[in-house]
């Protein structure tokens, strides 16, 4: 039996090995991942993010305890940034889940950013699919959340929890703006502290101000104390309510929430993804694009709400200093943006875009832009595109792009 087959059959060692092969993008990994990709769609993915010190890992640990008591099997993808200098990382989230991580129905795997912008690595996304395929019915994706990176978990999770420690409500503009945009549930941690209730009130006010018109879901704010063990049931109920309202389909790109017909009536899981079908649609769009042809931008892959394009820098793309023209990089990122936002079908037109440049690019470099869907309602979509340069041993971050589309049709 191959590793993938053994993992699907419940062999935990094989699953651990498989995750490494996928993380390293080793030979045979993509094929194994594809095979597993056919079996996804059952698990419910909950994203949990919070700044260091917010009590995020302690909260996840408490949730684990609760869900284990309910009979669930849970996988945790614990995510830490890696050193931009050495590429190494200290992966320390799982130590806070020590008691529950020991349970045989829990599987915890730590990942590092591996230099990818947006905070979550390709392999972490594949890991979620692996866990889904191997039968874990709940998957927690835990990220550090330093303002920018947590927006990228949005594309990965069905339900998104942001953990906020008490007292930080005052500085909320600086730190939380990005994360509150994506929160389905705000959990105010350390609920035993005096400031917790006040922080929760402030959060509710902020949430009401940011209300997104097109979704039925108004983000819930819950106060939790892992110490006193209070608020966990309320959090669990809020999670369940969100899942019932929106299903597990956001992760797969469909965004038409159906109201729950009754308490026990959950939306059916979405059908298995056809990786190649989406790619063809995106490729067809790119084929009609004059600028892509002019600049030599080629499609490498895609999916619902996702696109990956590449471009080799040559004389066409250079500026008067001999380096790659910023406009060319913008065009590459914008192409990924357009393809990803139009991948669902309805016409999406860009109305706002912003780019930052981090590293120099020279002739001969190969640039890759990857777009992910941060948020999408009926009329508005927000996307994040990371542009990297392919080097001998890996990738270097080059540019960061965010864009908003208005959806017609």
């Amino acid at each position: 039996m191959s590793l993938a087959e053994r993992a699907l059959a419940g062999d935990r060692r094989a699953l651990g090995r498989l995750l490494t092969l996928i993380d390293d993008d080793a030979a045979g990994a993509r094929e194994a991942a594809a095979r597993l990709g056919e079996r996804t769609g059952r698990a419910w993915v909950v994203g949990v993010t919070g700044v260091p010190g917010s009590g995020k890992s302690t909260l996840v640990d408490a949730l684990l305890g609760l869900w284990l008591a309910q009979g669930h099997s849970i996988a945790v993808v614990a995510f830490d940034p890696s050193s931009p200098i050495s590429g190494g990382a200290v992966l320390g989230d799982r130590i806070r889940m020590a008691a529950n991580a020991a349970d045989e129905k829990v599987f915890v795997r730590s990942f590092s950013a591996r230099g990818e912008l947006g905070g979550l690595s390709r392999a972490a996304r594949a890991a979620v699919d692996c866990f889904d395929a191997c039968g874990f019915d709940r998957i927690v994706v835990e990220t550090v959340g330093t303002g920018q990176s947590e927006t990228s978990i949005a594309g990965l999770a069905d339900t998104r929890v942001v953990v906020c420690p008490p007292g930080l409500g005052d500085d909320v503009q600086a730190i939380k703006a990005g994360s509150l945009e994506i929160a389905d549930i705000v959990a105010v941690s350390k609920g035993d502290l005096p400031l917790a209730e006040r922080t929760a009130r402030e959060m509710r006010e902020m949430v009401a101000l940011r209300r997104r018109q097109e979704t039925a879901w108004l983000p819930a704010v819950v106060v939790v104390s892992a110490l006193r063990k209070t608020g966990l049931d309320a959090l669990d109920a809020a999670l369940d309510a969100h899942r019932d309202a929106t299903g597990t389909r956001r992760r797969h790109g469909e965004h038409a929430p159906t109201p729950a017909a009754g308490a026990g009536d959950r939306p059916a899981p979405s059908p298995a993804l056809d990786g190649d079908g989406w790619r063809e649609r995106i490729a067809a769009l790119a084929a009609r694009d004059g600028l892509c042809a002019t600049l030599g931008i080629a499609v490498r892959g895609g999916g619902p709400g996702r696109a990956e394009v590449a471009m080799r820098v040559d004389a066409r793309h250079l500026n008067f200093n001999g380096g790659c023209h910023g406009g060319a990089i913008f065009a590459l990122a914008d192409s990924a943006f357009g393809l990803a936002s139009n991948s669902h079908g309805p016409l999406a037109a860009g109305i706002d875009a912003h780019i930052t440049f981090q590293a120099g690019v020279a002739a001969g470099d190969t640039l890759v832009a990857r777009a992910v869907e941060v948020q999408r309602s009926r009329r508005i979509g927000v996307y994040r595109i990371d542009v990297v340069r392919e080097d001998a041993g890996g990738e270097t971050a080059v540019s960061s792009f965010t864009g908003t589309v208005y959806i017609r049709g």
């Binding site: 260091p52 010190g53 200290v90 320390g92 130590i95 806070r96 020590a98 035993d192 110490l227």
Partner: protein
Amino acid sequence: MNKPVEPRLLADSEPARARWQREYREGVAAERAIANVSGIPIAPLYTAADRRPGGDDALGYPGQPDYTRGIYATMHRGRTWTQRQLIGLGTPADYNERLRSILARGATAVSLIPCNSVYRGYDMDSVELELLGTCGVVVNDAEHMDRCLEGVDLAEVSCAMNDPSPFTLLAFMLVAAERRGIDWKAISGTSNQSDYLSHYVANHMFYRLALPGARRVLMDHIGWCRQHVPRWNPMSVVGQHMQQAGATPAEAMAFTLSSAVQNAEDCIARGMDPDEFLPRFTFFFDISLSFFEEVAKFRAGRRIWARLARERLGASDEKSWRFKFHAQTSGVDLTRQQPLNNIARVTAQAMAGIFGGLQSLHTDAYDEAYATPGEVGARIAVATQNILREEAHLTDVIDPLGGSYYVESLTDAMEEKILAIMKTVDDAGGMYKAVESGLVQRTIGASAMRFQERVESGEQVIVGVNKYRSDDDAEHRPPVDRPDREQMQRHRDEFVAAKARRSPSAVAKALDALTRAAESDDGNVFGAVVDGARAGLSNEEICARLRRDLGFGQPLVVV
């Protein structure tokens, strides 16, 4: 590293100074900039010009604020420091035997180190047999404590319990004393490991209860001891762990003083009067091999504390301003290679502590780096103290280094550095918040890294390890004595049997009393611990219940 340095200009006699400078420059082939561990630059020579104007007048007398020269007028001429050797090994019987021989050889106080299993809040039946008693004595209940202290007059001998929150060892000792008919008011000693903040930061083994719970229990402990065991020092603020973890001497002093301030402010917030509890605050420090730096560290610490107690904490009794400390020679300075060298190391460290004006001293044995000390090592450690005092006459003069141009200049510089570091803690909202956020841990980790780099580059020499490596001298590194397994097994079996003989309802009642105290706002958790010890509860039973109610201690790990 070897860059030319301009010797500092001195303000005294021009021709003499100029001549010295010239000869010095000619004589030193390649001058290099030297800084001590705390980062303070060290010049080749200090003269009167290096003293602060009026510095000598400000120095004052021993026993008078701000106590730079010593907290008592008589210092070691009046009463020598307490020779408090830390001991712990094996079973209570083993401990008692070692204790009695140490007391016979001149040690004047008792200190007890329990087994690591006890620190972790476990009883011996929860832990692998081979791990028991290797680093400390296995004491799990009041009866064991009684056996440990057999033949020791608890009303006369001061006892230091190395006993983190919730202070079960002290509870066991008090119950043992009670059974002997000894009045608690006669008992003296210290809760040596009451500093939960330092455990959170730097010695995780001692860290048992979650941060807020540990804070609560400490306050209860201080309050209860004040009432019931008035001669006991419930608060020992510990700088040793942090310095062992890599903090520089200035950082260790700064963080320790900040901890003391935090604990004092917590007591004040509880309604206690500073003059009630501050006289019973003691400190516990490391002494490293950076000789003069350590002397200066202690003198600066004394000065700063006197001011803090008076001005920041509002204490008006002079007893509150006195910086009393126990010191231990640094274990991380000792080497496994050429172990007998450690005797020289401990001697230098002890001297620095003595010149620094300590009140109590533990000298490490030469084999303490890799084992609990054997008989020979323990004997030499005690003899070292006796030799320094009675053969080298180090204590005939109070603060003999006082007035030294170098030592006074360095004391001033250390004071400045310590205050600067304390400010960063204040800016972070105080020591509790600073450790909660990881600021202290990051600082210490960075210093530890820097030290490691200096050792690996050879800049910091460790004799026998990175230089002078002639011979490993393995024969002076005898095979380590492990406790007798059979004896330990018997100890365990007796303990299990004793537990089974207790009344289950009495046990349950005592545990529930613990919970009630923990859950109420005005119950005294330590009082409930003492009651529990009296009812026969074991160390693990008490710790496990309080962990359940007050939270399990998971320290913030910062790499």
